[in-house]
Symmetry: C3
Subunit: 667 residues, 3 copies
């Protein structure tokens, strides 16, 4: 795999864009569209992701002149292009000729041509046709002026998860052979002596299709890992082909909830982009994504898809955002490190199931509901871009770990009780309430950037990560392990040395058992507070010098600890045995996190709560404040500040209108 | 297709009947049944719809003598027969020999023999066997004395919707070829450039079987239209065969919720009949059906199936109606234009999944729970029949449009939010509250019968209908367009000239966009009232002389109108942008509909509300009043009235007992 | 079939055991396990049910030496073994070689290898391999010292119900041929003239796979009976093979909710055992099972599986029981006639989907959450065993009928409204409230053991049972028939002589109709009380000398009776027309059951309610009291009692701690 980044994209000129489908419109409409884009401030369009048929109407009759022409016309009008490979929608000639390319579900249903992602991306014929069209695009379009970036395919695995077709079956067996070497290594790792599951050879290992009860969770987990590996292999193969011909940076338009290993996916891509359609009440979800996708490569990202007013399809359409929300969505994006903000889509679809989706123009070419908001935001972002170009987002001192691999574990266990994303996000909201500037990090990250690292809801901690966490603390870091961390091996089995395996030594605890706490009489007592635990708990006893900061009390077993702290080298390791619940949970978290932040000497903290975003830039010299909850805010800042745009002095407290923002500079 | 009606059925003698299955009972029981029918007042039975095996126990061994005998015996006892073709339950020899006749679901499940409608009615072998048995019946039984009418099959598509078998696939491609001529006409109409859906030939067009996300709504809609066309083709083919041999009028026992285009189905049949099993709380649903099925052919109809006490099957059985409800069900039927009222069924099933269903006699031949009510109703209907024979239901002056095609659209879009039947019915209830005598009409109806026409929830208004609506208004009619009308083309795509296409010119408005109103801050202000809109809205600006009657206010876009009015020729066009919701909705509707009725000079209005039915007969000389809600009513009538049955003078106000009725005649 | 019991198992030494899977653990761990078992008081382990692969790693390479060795080592350590046949988990070599062994669902899904019960137990190749492994086990292991009993397979039909594979299709036709002789006998019995279902031969009878609506309930019922017959045939075949080689008693680990005919299953086995994982709130469910499984053979039973703390799998895991509950579970077991109490499982699974399940030791060999409770219970049971050995549970005088066949009926009709188990159990709770010692009996039981027999919710009463019920009353018994009894024939059709067929003559009533009472205005009036009926009702008129004890009033039909009583011979027959509901239902039941118990001169009654169990032993000389609801209890006993363990006098009232117990002996 090639090294990233091959080419950097800067935050200025800020890429203010929209998805565009010229293949759907007449020459007259295209001309009007391009003229209108300039009026709205659009300087970048994304094209091609569903246009395979336009590019190759019959097999091997590739003709890219239409897109070549559009790219050049856009460029002449000052509009750059993000070029997408068109593989999410293989054309009918491909599927009609090769019905065995169909995606097959766990229930054995072969998907019919229609919608998107109806084809197994591992099928050799599909892969071959993908190679040909991607290479042709890279060769013929990749070096045109205005081509600012590439997007691979679109929203991998947004409609589907694991394919169970015959092609996948063969690749699955091959993948297992490569991973385990011998079938007995697999049998031992998965414990197939259970229920006489023992396999005599790799060919006997089933795919996780319907069975009377549950498959072995090790099989389930590995099939998810296999599927995530394979789609990344497909992505990286496209990237390689593109790089043969041109050097524009490459991204993928990913999402939080797709069945993907984003960490591995973006390791070999040049920058991160993603889509999101937050309901206005879910602004916390939006900020979580900004921090996550900035954290993934520690460089600016693009928001590649969002709606000027509302998402929608013929199945379900939410109501338009309230006025003002789009502004806070856009300003919080650039404040959080976005260097691109793109709408889906420029002109409302005339046909197909996404007709009801919001857009900038209507199908008949007039301003749509969110038009004025989008136009106004364009001006704002243009004004703010020079500020962030000179003063990028500051490196956070607190890292909160979120892992796509952990997510795969929760799909196979506890999913009924714990929604992984929600669970991690609930801790994120606690950090927001403390006004702490933070990153979302992955388990592959360089921990030395942080003073505090929080590792919750991570079922398996592998040896390299354990080693890095240990080193982090030894070198002065403050580490919080838990809740629900380390109770499984990487093969989704139970550790057999201790409840949490080697993690117990790091934390200096002995865990009684990892079991369901929800519905018992247990209480977590600490910080003068008392909380019932939810989810699962790992009540422990401190070992040696470890101190107990909170008790775990229940009639089920003798007194244990709910929180412990251990000094390690020049740092410290905190262990949290369970997730606090009920009325006092926020106060309980506050007690714990305040102590940790204090011990970690965490800077970049502001007197905001989860309703308002605060992001420091340029070593804390610049401060972005954005009201997200639509209630407005009054922020009692200390020190002397001025307005970064006007230079006027600002007197504390700073008042923000609903969805309002301020960019302050130290005076 | 032949012209209807080939033969009229009058309202007297009123056909008071029951479904009868002599093939299930012994000779002794049959004799008892016939004797007992006379006691209850049954003068008509319906037979044969599930008796294919009795008629043709082995392929080509047709023997109809059993039914011939029964028909003659009934006739000798003064009981007429409705003969049904037995095609809903093809016998086992047919399916066993041809397993490929099986109905196939969208998920690819082939239905097993069992239940009903397990066969694809398009399969050539099934069609051939249907031709043979239907022809034999018509030839041998059709001219027997007492055969008063034919029923084709039974409840088409009551258990199933669109079949996706291989036979259907071929016919689908042929149907598309006939509709579009060239594949590129289809590609353009459906906008298949979206998502690379482009088809090179008709054979490539998929059936709407399972795919990762949504099919193109144009494909979805057309497959529904195809399916509805095909079942009608099947029905009309049966009708043609029958007409070769006999001239009894032909009907089908249809229902509100089956996957059918009833308008087209009954266009070539002789009279309308349907089944309904209303819960007593849903009496409004019942009246809606009476008005609809009378309106469909503008002549009397039959209620072909209802229960004397309760419906039921082994899966689910509702409780029996409260005492009295059956009376109001029957009297409202004849008041609304019924010329037949039939029970399902005479004698409780001894076996099969409908054992728990209500009936007149029990399996063991004794009076069942609803027996006395049914007997009493028989007398009442006999007494009322001469009145309606002389004074049929008056032509209503208000027509409310209900369309099976619209229903097909809502199955493909907005179905999550809008239940089409419920939505139209909620307007119907407003008309009930205003005491307006009304018809439910179809888009193929002669509008000149009406003073006011209301066209709500009609996604696509085709050019001929648009033209007829225009003419209606120009000629002095008062037209109400909306809510949720005209936002799609007939191909289920977005109009590209205006939000509502050419409809905007008729209404004299410019619509901003058609978008989801539910969940926004919008308010509809008019008639001194203020309502939030639900569902989707088409906020508009009046053009030229159009006046705004109510405002549409929201922070999302500048001030628009919620209701407009435009003078057109000697009539007027009202446009309603959205469905009012919340507490004031009824008052809002009342304000609008009162104005429209006033402008339309609507007569036949009575001081009743939705709890009591009022139906004028004989140019308003006779008035039926029926209490439907079981609460009784006091009706302050003006003018001099007498009791139509006794001739006694009636003094206002008229008091109705719970479920009571009165038939008044102008004194 | 052989006669039972071939060999008795006594209640002392009490079998205190756990499921053990030595095939999953190392030699070192096994040694530790055996040592640890002795510490906890485990004197019996259950092994082998999932170990087919360990026993026969490749086809025909059977090697049982591992288990032979373990059994001997256990025996040397004073631990007996229950040997299980390993057929619930056929190994991969079997399914890979014969994919047609797969279980097929009603929807046509072929289950993949994985989980358990993925194979059709009727498949000839599977049956052949089962014969071979079972015979080998019996021959080589059956006569080892310590092999105290055999368990056939495990939890038959716990994950699955009826298989619809091709093998089953052929067997189904053969089963029908044997049952009905001629196809016309079947056609008549099922009433296939309905819906043209008539079959020309047995091959045409479908399996109940997906069809557009409902299959004939006679077909549904018979397929369930067929499936239950076949699994019993499989069980009895295993038992026969085992008995060829050894004479240890044979059982099956069954459950309340599996798709089984337990009555027929255990008729040819030697003792009853079952599993249950009650939530602590469902202690009534637990006691119901104790009484049922004791009643099934009228001899002691084993609880073969329960959890020391909580059940669980990766899909769902309940919270651990509160402290104390395990004690009440165990003491109520021995009080109710258990001679074995086994945990699932000894050591927490390291892999597979049951990792989260509670156990005595953790995967890493330390005490798990419920460890101390299990250890304490072992001591208690050891102490109590001699008492129950000398004074077994007294024969109850009240029998409440529960039938697996009735359950099969309710799966095909009324299941939406009536949950059969819950319905019968709600009457059971009334008996608990009256402090009545009771048995749960089956329709095949010897009724002469009882003074009162209650027959509720039994859709079909066949002639032999009717005859036995009649004789029971004639000979002085007091019989309660209903609610919801006798309304169907044994073929799941409607009786055609009377609503309840010949049962009406026994009860001395004439039933109007059996219909849904829930949702009507009906009231049951008696005992000075008034209750609405729920479910379905059979309102009746007393005939001849029958007296009415309660009225059934409704506007739907003339006055009927809700309860009647008739003297028959030296006994009496009560008939209950419907299930009382609402606030007064408990009082209504109390009124009825008090009268019946009084008339039946029922002894063994104690002043307890459903919160506390009272069980007489040794002709009433010994009394077990166990608090089940965790609230403690105060029991005002009459007479002189002493503590059966300590001999100390006990003064009334007896106080029980939460989950506490007392064993009293008459002083």
């Amino acid at each position: 795999m090639s090294q990233r980044p091959t080419k950097a994209i800067t935050q200025t000129p800020f890429h203010y864009g929209a998805a565009y489908y010229p293949e759907l419109w007449s020459e007259k409409q295209i001309a009007e569209d391009i003229a209108h884009m300039k009026k709205v401030g659009i300087n970048c369009v994304r094209m091609g992701e569903f246009a395979w048929h336009t590019m190759e109407p019959k097999q091997d009759q590739i003709d890219l002149s239409f897109f070549k022409d559009i790219i050049l016309r856009l460029w002449e009008n000052g509009i750059q292009t993000v070029l997408c490979t068109p593989t999410p929608t293989p054309p009918r000639w491909l599927t009609y000729q090769h019905p065995d390319t169909a995606f097959v579900t766990r229930d054995g249903i072969k998907y019919e041509h229609g919608a998107r992602q109806h084809v197994c991306t591992n099928h050799p014929f599909f892969r071959q046709r993908s190679d040909i069209i991607v290479s042709a695009m890279a060769r013929e379009l990749g070096n045109l002026p205005g081509v600012v970036a590439w997007q691979l395919d679109n929203e991998f695995k947004c409609h589907i998860s694991e394919c169970c077709c015959e092609t996948c079956k063969g690749l699955w067996h091959q993948w297992l052979r490569e991973k385990y070497g011998t079938i007995d290594a697999l049998n031992e790792a998965w414990g197939t002596a259970i229920w006489s599951q023992y396999y005599e050879n790799f060919e006997q290992v089933p795919q996780p299709v319907t069975t009377p009860f549950l498959h072995n969770p090790s099989l389930e987990l590995n099939y998810r890992l296999f599927s995530m590996d394979k789609i990344n292999e497909f992505a990286h193969r496209q990237a390689q082909l593109i790089r043969r011909y041109c050097d524009a940076p490459i991204t993928h338009n990913t999402g939080m909830s797709f069945a993907l290993d984003n960490q591995a996916l973006f390791q070999d891509l040049d920058f991160v982009s993603f889509d999101t359609y937050p309901g206005y009440q879910n602004y916390g979800h939006l900020l979580f994504q900004y921090d996550r996708f900035r954290g993934m490569q520690h460089q600016p990202f693009w928001l590649m898809e969002t709606s000027p007013a509302h998402a929608g399809c013929t199945l379900h359409t939410p109501a338009p955002h309230p006025a003002g929300f789009l502004r806070s969505e856009g300003v919080s994006a650039i404040a959080s490190g976005a260097m691109g903000f793109h709408y889906w889509l420029w002109r409302q679809q005339r046909t197909g199931c996404e007709m009801p989706h919001g857009s900038i123009l209507t199908s008949w070419g007039e301003p749509n509901v969110g038009y004025e908001n989008a136009k106004a935001l364009g001006h704002i972002l243009k004004e703010l871009a020079p500020i962030v170009e000179k003063a990028p987002v500051d490196q956070a001192q607190v890292g909160l770990l979120y892992s796509d691999i952990a997510n795969a574990f929760f799909k196979g266990e506890f999913g009924e009780m714990v929604h992984y994303q929600d669970a991690v996000r609930s801790i994120y909201y606690q950090l927001m309430d403390l006004g702490v500037h933070r990153d979302i990090i992955t388990e592959r990250d360089d921990l030395s950037r942080y003073r505090v690292v929080i590792v919750p809801y991570l079922p398996a901690v592998d040896d390299p990560l354990l080693e890095r966490l240990t080193r982090f603390a030894q070198n002065g870091g403050t580490l919080l392990i838990g809740p629900m961390t380390g109770y499984r091996t990487t093969e989704h089995t139970v550790p057999t040395d201790h409840a949490l395996g080697k993690l117990e030594a790091l934390c200096g605890v002995h865990v009684l058992q990892f079991y369901r706490a929800d519905g018992t009489d247990a209480q977590m007592k600490g910080f003068g507070l008392c909380c019932a635990p939810v989810h699962w708990a790992a009540p422990c006893s401190p070992v040696e010098d470890t101190e107990s900061l909170a008790a775990y009390e229940t009639s089920l077993h003798p007194h244990c600890s709910a929180i412990t702290r251990r000094t390690l080298g020049s740092g410290a390791v905190y262990f949290l045995a369970a997730t606090p619940d009920a009325e006092e949970a926020d106060a309980f978290w506050k007690g714990l996190l305040e102590q940790i932040c204090r011990e970690g000497k965490v800077g970049y903290r502001y007197p905001t709560d989860r309703g308002t975003l605060a992001v420091p830039h340029g070593e804390g010299r610049i401060l972005f404040l954005v009201n997200m909850d639509g209630k407005g805010a009054t922020i009692p800042l200390e020190g002397e500040w001025k307005d970064a745009l006007t230079g006027k002095a600002v007197t504390a407290p700073v008042k923000l209108d609903p969805y309002g923002y301020a960019v302050l500079e130290k005076a």
